[in-house]
């Protein structure tokens, strides 16, 4: 990845009169950590990076921005928001466009073909972070840890994020400007990474999810990080009526996670943010990918590929299958 080219493009974008800011990534303040970065002017682009740790999905910020009341007589800031997107992030943008979460004219999309991201938890197991600055780079198919000492080559298989191992769309599905050359998908076949759990019996699966959901502390990180959880007023938060009780226990946690999964069926773009941010380590990706797989297999639909698509949950064909309905 030619960072200079990226910074040049970014500088041009943020200098435009109709662009408010560009959302990208920069080095974090500790170890090899990476943080989201809002670039407001051309001077800021020097800090912009794109590295194997830029795993977070910046599309979340599009709907997270609070629309503050506009004083009478004033106009709201209608300038565009520019953002850097990987393949999965671009699918989130496409899905947001499908459901009118954002409008096309409100955004500038800078697409970055993605060679694969590192799961920081896996990395940290082998190479714990220290207060010394370090960074990760792509090194052919593998990764390179560049710190104070000698560079260390880390084999791809050791630290590659699961969502990247299963990724079918590493290249942005939509962008105004693309930086970098397209990459080939790594996933060999249509693998949702759920075969192992699917092979278990119902009782075993129940035990598995009971254990997982019981861990939930209901911090709602999953909901906050998800680029497609952006209702003005989420029904899972609602007090009248209370669909899901505040109590943190297996029953209510399960209701919470299943309701969320179903609200994401045919919408989830498998960016993996929910699972990445979960402090309890609940494999939410499995849940969402299972539903995405069902939607793909039963209805031949994959969300976030076509910004003009009819929203899956709101479309209907007379010959829609329903074999999986109990």
């Amino acid at each position: 990845m030619d960072l200079n080219q990226l910074r040049k493009v970014a500088a041009e974008v943020v200098s435009r009169d109709d662009v408010k800011y560009l959302i990208g990534w920069r080095r974090g303040t500790f170890g090899y950590r990476v943080a989201p970065y809002f670039v407001e002017d051309a001077a800021g682009v020097d800090e912009l990076i794109f590295s194997p740790l830029c795993i977070s999905n910046l599309a979340t910020y599009l709907t997270l921005v609070e629309k503050l009341p506009v004083p009478r007589g004033q106009e709201p800031d209608k300038r565009k928001v520019a953002l850097l997107v990987k393949g999965c992030d671009s699918r989130a943008v496409a899905q947001l466009l499908v459901e009118k979460g954002v409008k096309r004219e409100e955004i500038v999309v800078v697409g970055l073909p993605c060679p694969g991201m590192i799961d920081r938890d896996l990395l940290a197991e082998k190479y714990p972070e220290t207060d010394k600055a370090a960074e990760l780079r792509w090194n052919g198919e593998d990764f390179l840890l560049v710190g104070e000492g000698e560079d260390i080559v880390i084999p791809r298989a050791e630290v590659l994020a699961e969502k990247c191992r299963l990724c079918r769309h590493p290249n942005p599905v939509l962008s105004d400007i693309t930086v970098g050359e397209p990459v080939k998908p790594w996933a060999a076949a249509d693998d949702s990474g759920v075969a192992e759990i699917e092979a278990k019996g119902a009782a075993e699966r129940w035990d598995y999810w009971e254990e997982q959901f019981s861990k939930c502390v209901r911090c709602y990180s999953c909901k906050s990080a998800c680029p497609l959880c952006y209702c003005e007023d989420c029904i899972l938060d609602r007090l009248d009526p209370i669909w899901v009780n505040r109590a943190v226990n297996f029953s209510e946690n399960t209701a919470f996670h299943l309701a969320r999964a179903f609200h994401l069926a045919g919408r989830c773009v498998e960016c993996g943010e929910c699972e990445r941010v979960c402090p309890a380590g609940i494999p939410l990706g499995k849940l969402n990918r299972k539903l995405a797989q069902t939607v793909r297999e039963e209805y031949g639909f994959e969300p976030g590929l076509d910004p003009e698509a009819e929203p899956f949950q709101a479309s209907y064909k007379p010959d829609d299958p329903e074999e999986f309905i109990l």
Binding site: L68, P69, V70, E99, K100, G101, C231, E232, A314
Partner: protein, 666 residues
Amino acid sequence: MTEKPKLGVYICHCGINIAATVDVEAVTEFAQSLPNVVVARNYSYMCSDPGQLLIKDDIQESGLNRVVVASCSPRMHEPTFRKALQEAGLNPYYLEMANIREQDSWVHQDREEATAKAKELVAAAVAKVRLLEPLTPREVDAEPAALIIGAGIAGIQAALDIGDAGFKVYLVEQSPSVGGRMAQLDKTFPTLDCSACILTPKMVDVANHPNIELLAYSEVEEVSGFVGNFDVKVRKKARYVDVSKCTGCGDCAEACRVAGRFPNEFEEGMGKRGAIYLPFPQAVPAKYTIDPERCLFLTRGRCGKSPKCVDACQPGAIDFEQKDEIVTFKVGAIIVATGFDVFDAAKKPEYGYTEFPNVITGLEMERLVSASGPTGGEILVDNGEEQIVPKEIAFIQCVGSRDQSVGNEYCSRVCCMYTAKQAHLIKDKIPDAKVKVYYIDVRAFGKGFEEFYDRVRREGIRYVRGNPSEIFKRGNKLIVKVEDTLTATPLEDEFDLVVLAVGLEPRADDRKTIDLLRLSQSPDRFLMEAHPKLRPVDTASDGIFLAGCCQGPKDIPDTVAQAKGAAASALIPLARGKVSIDAQVAGVIEDTCRGCGFCVSICPYTAIELVEINRMGHMVEVARVNEALCKGCGSCSAGCLSNSIQPKSFRDRQILPQIAALGGIK
């Protein structure tokens, strides 16, 4: 609600319909104990005048502000009780019905359990009624005109009735002439009236009626709007003949370079026509049409030195430059009278319909015996070697009806009688013919039908009970292999002609009409009526009615009766000049609506659109319901991720307490 709820609960005995299975006294006593219930009573028939008076008196004397009636399905008497509330000065939507008949007494035997269930249903209704909001139905003006799709006998009759009542009718027919299937028939059972003789005067009437605008050779392209206010777009297909100049003389058809080359649809392919044609001599309008797929000039750009029809046409009516024309208009009501297709006999390969020229369908037989048909009424068939007058003739009943193997479980209702009629007509024309009818059951249920069936049997037509398994050829004869199931005798009978009494099927192009008007189909694939008994001509969409065989197989009298029924129903909004819009429609909570448009896509009635609103200085899109179009079905609510759209009277906060009460949660 600001005022304290004061509830009246009324438990109906429905004679013994409810009281025999449910202890109404116990339910009344229970209801009395529920919170906010001021009075609880039971009565033999709550829907009767004295029953309703009980409610009205209590509202006035005890100051009730909410009413629960535990009786039958709200589909039955909700309007009755709403009216009672209104007459007593209460908002009619302050009513909740507990269905303790269809959902309780009729489906349970155990009195104790049924009573317990009735109590739960009443408790649930009481829980909900307190939370109901007052609603006001609205009225909008209705356009004093009707659209009728299909100009067979059903469409024609409906058009004449509505036109005679003084309202404008747009009668749209996709083929070049009105008349439909009935025009193809020879005689009609059981009276043997000549079909054309009784139909053609009506065909002429619709063409000449001052209130009827006939749009033949036209198709409805778009319908939007709602009862009283439908916007309709119709495509008038190019005939390539200027109808104002065409005199119907037929010189063009005679001159046509490809005259007599193509199968005539009206003759079921047995007669031939050219590229410019009149489907049949009595066609209305009596104007010629050029078939754009057959005409040499239109397909190849040239037809000899100059098209012969152009040369032959004295008034100069041929116009190859003619284009389809779009007409738009508004109507208050729509009648669908699109008719039927006959069963495709090729789907029963064992009968050799596509193999043997002397295996024909009932409709082909109609054309064959018709004096205006391809043989001039002479019964002549090709036995594979020569044209002969058949002497041994078989009819096979129920071809494509009552047959799950072809997906048609239903009885087509006309085949038994048209077979009897055709058998009679054959006997009439070929007196020494031997005619056998293979049947499963003979259904002669209509007025004069059984008498006719008896008459035909006395004429020497033999009825053999058996469903033939196969037709094959031996020499120049057709062999019908069948078991006479009354004598358990296997037979191989010889014939010169076999007539397959094909059944009626929904039209292959019904899908277009269904999508256009958002209609439903019953399991037999025919268009579905709103209620099989009490609303047989209505559809689920207000202002759209069904007439004739599009709704299910029918004979001519039933079709005409239904057409008149549909006309009378369609006349209600037209004559009233106004339609009421139900108040139980979906409402949007704009504050939480995220404007994703899922509900817009989901709504089967296109009742929702996205509109821009100002939310604290930001222009955002939110859903808005057109209350006139909304049927309160709740699909939008099911699809809304943030529950921001909910049907009034069925809001979460109204039905969740109801569900909780059913589960015994206070």
